[in-house]
Symmetry: C2
Subunit: 502 residues, 2 copies
């Protein structure tokens, strides 16, 4: 039976989606193309659009349409996709209508400018430049939490946007448990007698050749260049104008081709999710990803579980050697595999291996939670950062550029975002384990460069559903159980015991 009210809701949502398309393109362009002194005009346009989108979203219910549909949903009159569209739109509406337009515009304008201030502060190694902006953003985020409402920590109200259904308490417990596993695990790796010299993989790699090689990997593992593109930016990201216009960026280092390859595989994982969303539902929750955590599960599965596996490089390493005979002709596949999986605590999150990576997340989670809850002041943040890095990673932070200023997130207003990275790692391991049981001869296929079944499995089990399931419900549906950190820990143990022989 056709529901005309749902059709009308969809029509309104699609209009908003067109504005989001424009807004995404303005964002993509700012990071990829825009000239330096266009920044102020771009911030003004972005802020105006943010306010307009907010208003149009609230206006979806100006004649009570959404409330009527919510009643139908509550009395079980909506089924399937209709129920998802109404339920998820209602969830967003409940949050958005509590935020005044003025607040939304202010947030967009401050964060648009703050990202450039942050970049400058990082360049100059001057936290003091960024400090007033971060204070302003934290003030706004606390205001957001207050407006939205929360029962436990104000951090709950921020986390919920990124990972629906997850609370600060859940996350603390999960991360705490993981820390308990990681700290002794990393100690074992450190005390291993196995010496890996990753420096021999350095060299001189022309950027256009790197770019071509990266594109060939993205294409091979399934990115559709007919409906997307790849560019260069300071910070890699994936962005969607429409399921048929998905773009990601990569960054390059002249002396390290593995840097761009890791980044490319990671972003391709995100992009495959976006390209796998059902285009015919554009504008509705049926064509939106579930959560940042599930999104990150896609990028991390491709980047680490697949992209750093022996099978993957059985296929790609000869190609890499052919493209860059120096230095790779003199490095065996085994040694290369060890280099790719070299574990060494690093100051920089985005350069760290998949084992120590999660300690970076734990540090950020603890600090941003403390800031939002008011138990840590912005002025004390750099010192707190140094102290935690020293405690968890055993490293001295020589500068704020390599410390508290390294990540773009806070400058963009993304507080409550970091934990989703670690959740993503855990989801990834659990999904990958389920997928391995379903795809016959998975590693052989990977070793032959045949990634079709993987893409198909991910499309079918995860991507095509849009927001139909909550993260944990999807985990249960696909893997048979809710989030279980055992999968991730087992994955690390199996892999690194073999590499480090402990």
């Amino acid at each position: 039976m056709k529901n005309n009210l749902v059709d009308e809701l969809k029509r309104r949502l699609v209009e908003i989606a067109h504005l989001n398309t424009a807004s995404s393109l303005l964002h993509w362009d700012r990071e990829v193309n825009m000239a330096p002194r266009s920044i102020d005009s771009r911030a003004a346009t972005t802020a105006y659009l943010a306010g307009l989108i907010h208003n149009k979203f609230i206006a979806v219910d100006s004649d009570g349409l959404l409330k009527k549909l919510k009643k139908q949903l509550d009395s079980n009159k909506l089924k399937g996709g209709d129920a998802v569209i109404v339920g998820e739109t209602w969830r967003s509406f409940e949050r958005e209508r509590k935020l005044p337009e003025k607040f939304v515009r202010k947030m967009a304008e401050v964060t648009s400018k703050a990202q450039h201030i942050w970049a400058e502060a990082r360049k100059q190694n001057k936290f003091s430049l960024f400090k007033p902006w971060l204070s302003e953003i934290v003030k706004l985020k606390r205001e957001e939490a207050r407006l939205v409402g929360y029962s436990g920590s104000p951090y709950d109200a921020l986390l919920d946007v990124y990972e629906p259904g997850m609370t600060t308490g859940n996350v603390s417990e999960i991360l705490f448990g993981l820390k308990d596993f990681l700290v002794p695990f990393i100690r074992k790796i450190k005390s291993s007698q196995r010496a890996i010299n990753a420096n021999i993989a350095r060299g001189s790699f022309p950027l256009d050749k790197q770019h071509a090689f990266n594109e060939s990997i993205a294409r091979k593992i399934g990115f559709d260049f007919e409906t997307g593109r790849v560019d260069k930016s300071a910070h890699p990201f994936t962005i969607t104008m429409h399921p048929q216009d998905v773009r990601f960026t990569t960054r390059y280092r002249n002396n390290d081709v593995l840097y761009s390859i890791g980044s490319t595989i990671h972003e391709t994982g995100h992009a495959l999710y976006e390209q796998g969303l059902p285009a015919e539902h554009f504008g509705t929750p049926l064509a939106e990803s579930i959560s940042l955590g599930v999104h990150e599960s896609q990028s991390r599965m491709w980047e680490n579980m697949i992209g750093k596996s022996k099978s993957f490089w059985k296929y790609f390493y000869p190609k890499l050697q052919k493209e860059f005979p120096v230095p790779f002709m003199r490095i065996s596949l085994n040694d290369f595999y060890n280099i790719v999986n070299f574990v060494k605590p690093s100051l920089i999150r985005t350069e760290s291996d998949e084992v120590t990576y999660n300690l970076h997340i734990i540090i950020r989670f603890e600090l941003e939670k403390a800031i939002i809850e008011g138990s840590l002041e912005i002025k004390d943040l750099p010192a707190a950062w140094r102290s935690k890095v020293n405690e968890y990673l055993g490293l001295d932070v020589p500068s704020d550029t390599l410390g508290v200023l390294q990540d773009v997130h806070w400058s963009g207003g993304s507080i409550g975002y970091f934990p989703t990275y670690t959740l993503g790692n855990m989801y990834a391991a659990q999904f990958y384990s389920a997928m391995s049981k379903k795809i016959h001869g998975l590693s052989n296929k990977i070793a032959k460069g045949d990634f079709r079944d993987i893409k198909k499995w991910l499309n079918k089990n995860i991507h095509q559903h849009g927001k139909t399931y909550k993260p944990n419900d999807l985990l249960v549906k696909v893997t048979g159980e809710p989030l279980n950190s055992r999968y991730f820990c087992d994955y690390l143990e199996n892999k690194y015991k073999a590499i480090y022989k402990f």
Copy 2:
């Protein structure tokens, strides 16, 4: 005295301008970046935005604000910029409110798709592919003329958007007069004994080197890369997101560096106009160009009067020779100057010299006028095209790709646009003559690579005024008289008599 109503109008206009910024970026991106199969989703977003912008513009007067201000204007209560803002906004409003939103969206969607159909038809040399789309567009444009209203020809209603104050009658007269001058003039050039071999300037020019050389010219003549950028596209164009975000594109041929240089100087001329508009008035008619004709006067003055002058190449030719020793080291400056100004009727408008160029415009004007007035049917258009090209240019048209399918304009709904190209040539000559009298030692400065006074003069006399003057009023203000074709004819005579020695 501060006028609060005007301030409120400005606030509303700036909001619309932000949407136009987004719309321009969607357009720029489509031509420069977008993946092929993203086209349908982009067309939908573009159409939605066109409708939204239209509605918001009409809503400027939803509470009678604009009518109130119009009354103030009519009773001489508004002065200076306020009067321009209200007068010009009213003029656009008078037109826009006659167009239903549905019509505006339909036009945006049809033209967005038709441009890709046209490109395909041109590639395949199949007018039949494009024919139904062109018929639809012509139907829509005639409907637009009917909705807007006109007294003489429906073509008047279309022309007026591009060149305010100009009528079909005026244009016919001007173009007819010009044809009378050009036909015998070209005959004299043809019968000249002077032989110019332009082929010796062909060679093999790597695109990245061409791109770098073109950027260096654009920078030198005044384009500000801090607030703009240059890209590659199939059809060169200039587009403005904001006076502080102006972009243009160039196209390249591997064997002909003069092709991209001409295109770059032309678009830089447009871009300097846009960068010269007063950013503080963003969103209002004070930060908008006067007309397409005046815009074209800027591009053509730079491209031809400056960019094809002996002085210009005295400065740039040694640099070109250094960058591309083959073939230019063996060509003298004098021979090169003759090659740059080689006159030879061509099938393609955008490749034709500045003398025969205007015959291309006359052909298009006559044909599009006949189509809009209903005296020529779409099915007869290719034959009519061939016949006119034969009559005016003495050439046989071997294919529709090299004939009626060569220009993008009609597929984008731009009918009534072509005459502004020739008006631009004439305005350019008249402005250039006035400027020459004001800038002491102009050609010496050009020969030294000093373009600062030119940019300054154009900024001061033309760019900074936005829409303050109508085209003819500006001509009178700057040159002391209304449009006079003598300047253009004199310019051609002086230049080409010297080159062709007749």
